[in-house]
């Protein structure tokens, strides 16, 4: 096991099962967003959680401004983790942009993965009339980035992360243990620009894995029309429309989210058995 990658991406491994299930968070927050969902998989699966470089308790020193200027940098994080843990046939669960990062990872190394579960995915947030409605005009995304600039969520850490390089003051690092959504503003801004202006529509038809799309109701970030587009473009996909409203059903409606995921995985299992007989 490559301890460097494990430390770099703050990889956490739980669960009693052997089938790996890897949870890729969306924009902004760390792996603890999964806490209410991942628990129910610990009985039967090997649950793997991680933070992207720059988020949560990852190694901020490993943040490379150029590498993470495209989603490929984050895709590489996922592939590094699979390789470090020698994972195969992983079920990748991604939220929001995490589902796109997972999908791109599966295109680069299909052997690592067996299926994709996408929660609130969008291949492209910008509108491209007349054929594609992503939900946003460019100005609105810039407005969002401006709003991030005016929210000092990561400011304390931006300051503290420079102090914590000092090995003589470990107590400062301890005080910061809980980062959650607070990210260095420079890193957060970079991630935001990378995520919000990505366009992966052309990749969708190339996906070979079986995919589940969990589509929330009234999701302003990934509207239903985008979920339908995904479903239509992905060769082997299932879409489930959730009762949950908003963009974070894994947090606001963990029960419904877990149930839909389990149902899908059960179906997959019986399909496989069916196929063998």
């Amino acid at each position: 096991m490559d301890r460097n990658i494990v430390a770099r991406n703050n990889v956490t491994i739980k669960g009693k099962g052997s089938q790996p299930i890897l949870f890729a968070p969306g924009f902004g927050c760390d792996q603890s967003v999964w806490s209410m969902v991942s628990k129910s998989f610990e009985q039967d699966y090997q649950v793997i959680l991680f933070d992207y470089v720059g988020m949560g308790k990852s190694d901020l020193g490993a943040f490379d401004y150029d590498k993470y200027s495209t989603l490929d940098g984050y895709v590489q994080d996922v592939l590094d983790i699979c390789s470090a843990l020698a994972l195969k046939d992983v079920i990748l669960v991604g939220h929001s942009v995490g589902s796109m990062i997972g999908m791109l990872a599966s295109l680069r190394q299909p052997d690592y993965f067996s299926s994709l579960i996408m929660i609130g995915p969008s291949p492209c947030y910008l509108n491209h009339p007349p054929d594609y409605f992503g939900g946003f005009e460019k100005e609105e995304l810039f407005g969002l980035i401006d709003m991030m600039d005016k929210n000092y969520i990561g400011w304390a850490n931006a300051f503290a992360s420079t102090i914590t390089n000092d090995a003589e003051h470990p107590e400062v690092a301890e005080a910061l243990e809980d980062r959650f959504c607070s990210t260095d503003p420079v890193i957060a801004r970079r991630f935001a620009e990378t995520c919000f202006f990505a366009d992966n529509r052309k990749e969708l038809p190339k996906v070979t894995l079986s995919t589940l799309i969990l589509q929330c109701a009234e999701d302003v970030i990934a509207p239903t029309v985008v979920g339908d587009y995904m479903h239509q473009q992905l060769p082997e996909s299932t879409i489930r429309y959730m009762k949950a409203r908003g963009h974070c059903p894994h947090m606001s409606h963990p029960d419904e989210t877990v149930e839909l995921m389990h149902n899908y995985l059960e179906e997959r299992k019986s399909e496989k058995i069916g196929g063998l007989t």
């Binding site: 969306g26 603890s32 946003f136 609105e140 407005g143 401006d146 709003m147 409203r245 908003g246 947090m251």
Partner: protein
């Protein structure tokens, strides 16, 4: 909701965990221009600006769900009919006391503070942009400098090669039973505006020439090379000094005919030495006087007989002739030498020194070196010492 909270000087709102509006105070309704029944049951998105809707999903929901509270979140609210955006600060906490979990939110409008922050951010951006531009300019400058250094190095190499070529065109020191010749040649830059040559015409006649083209450096050096290629042809033929000088003068006029910008003139002295007749026939075209010194200590100056070459067209060149005694000595030099160590020094040296010409050359060099250390050398240096045996 109690009346105090209803009228409190801040917006107050209760949300379901999904973000649906459960209740709100009067203050917030007034701020946004809605009636209560227009908002209750609606999603909070209704009162958020487009950017704020996304931000709310990205940060507010995860934070309040996970941590149970949100502090100092900046959002912008949209008033009724989307007529206006109101920047606000939001604090929220998860209220788990009631049957359903509810999120309590308090809003404070912050229009003026927001304007101020906008200006701060703008100033910050301007400063960053300026810093970036400076960095880029600096990098460009460094690249240009590297380029210049490279070009300069190429030029230096070229000049070194040219220097070699120029020095190759100089004739070597020689000695026989009639005379001994020593010379010294040093450019102020890589290339020199001085040039000289000595030729044995036959077994008793010799030609010695020294030229100093105005200026120094590349252009002067090119002129010296042009003149050199001419005199090395005409002198060995045994042409008289007047003819040699006429040729060189005409050549300069021909080169710079109607071209004032390129025009160069040159001072020159040419000696035609006959060892049978013991005569020196010479022409001095504006050059510093050569010094003749006989073994009895008598000195004679071979002063200018004509203006410099390339100045006036159609000049008639008349030579002068002196007789020399055996054991006499001649010193020819350019002004780069005499201006540095002085004409008198040269005169005295010839007078005092009984050394061979090779040693005398070293003495002059020593003096030149000493003077060079105290003055900035700016002209080419060249001299010729001849022992007439």
């Amino acid at each position: 909701m109690d009346e105090q909270l209803n009228q409190a000087p801040c917006g107050f709102l209760t949300l379901s965990t999904e973000g649906a509006i459960v209740s709100m105070n009067e203050m917030l309704l007034r701020l946004l221009g809605y009636r209560r029944d227009e908002l209750v049951g609606q999603h909070i998105n209704v009162i958020l600006s487009n950017s704020a809707r996304v931000f709310f999903q990205l940060y507010f929901i995860p934070m309040v769900t996970q941590k149970g509270f949100v502090e100092e979140m900046y959002l912008s609210l949209a008033t009724n009919h989307q007529s206006e955006e109101i920047p606000i600060l939001l604090n929220a906490s998860m209220n788990e006391s009631s049957r359903h979990k509810l999120i309590d939110c308090a809003f404070l409008p912050m229009q003026r503070r927001n304007d101020y922050e906008d200006q701060l951010l703008l100033a910050n951006k301007v400063a960053k942009d300026a810093l970036n531009k400076k960095q880029i300019a600096l990098e460009e400058l460094e690249a240009k400098q590297d380029q210049l250094i490279k070009i300069n190095k190429q030029n230096q190499n070229e000049l070194q090669l040219a220097k070699k070529i120029q020095e190759t065109s100089l004739t070597d020191a020689f000695t026989n039973d009639r005379m001994q010749v020593e010379s010294y040649y040093k450019a102020s830059k890589e290339l020199s505006g001085d040039i000289y040559g000595f030729y044995q015409i036959n077994n008793h006649q010799y030609g010695v020439i020294l030229l100093d083209v105005m200026g120094h450096g590349i252009s002067s050096a090119l002129v010296t090379m042009s003149l050199q290629s001419l005199y090395q042809k005409v002198i060995p033929k045994g042409m008289k000094p007047a003819s040699v000088m006429k040729e060189l003068d005409s050549h300069l006029h021909y080169l710079f005919h109607n071209d004032e910008e390129a025009w160069h003139y040159c001072t020159a002295i040419y000696l035609f030495i006959d060892t049978e007749k013991h005569t020196i026939e010479y022409i001095n075209s504006g050059h510093p006087p050569a010094i003749y010194h006989d073994k009895n200590g008598r000195q004679e100056e071979l002063c200018a007989t004509n203006p410099p070459l390339g100045t006036f067209e159609g000049i008639k060149y008349n030579s002068k002739t002196i007789r020399y005694a055996e054991g006499s000595r001649l010193l020819l030099y350019t002004d780069g030498v005499s201006e540095l160590i002085g004409y008198n020094y040269l005169q005295d040296l010839l007078m005092k020194s009984r050394n061979a010409v090779s040693q005398m050359k070293e003495e002059i060099l020593l003096e030149l070196n000493q003077k060079e250390n105290s003055y900035y050398q700016k002209d080419d240096q060249c001299f010729i010492l001849i022992d007439l045996k």
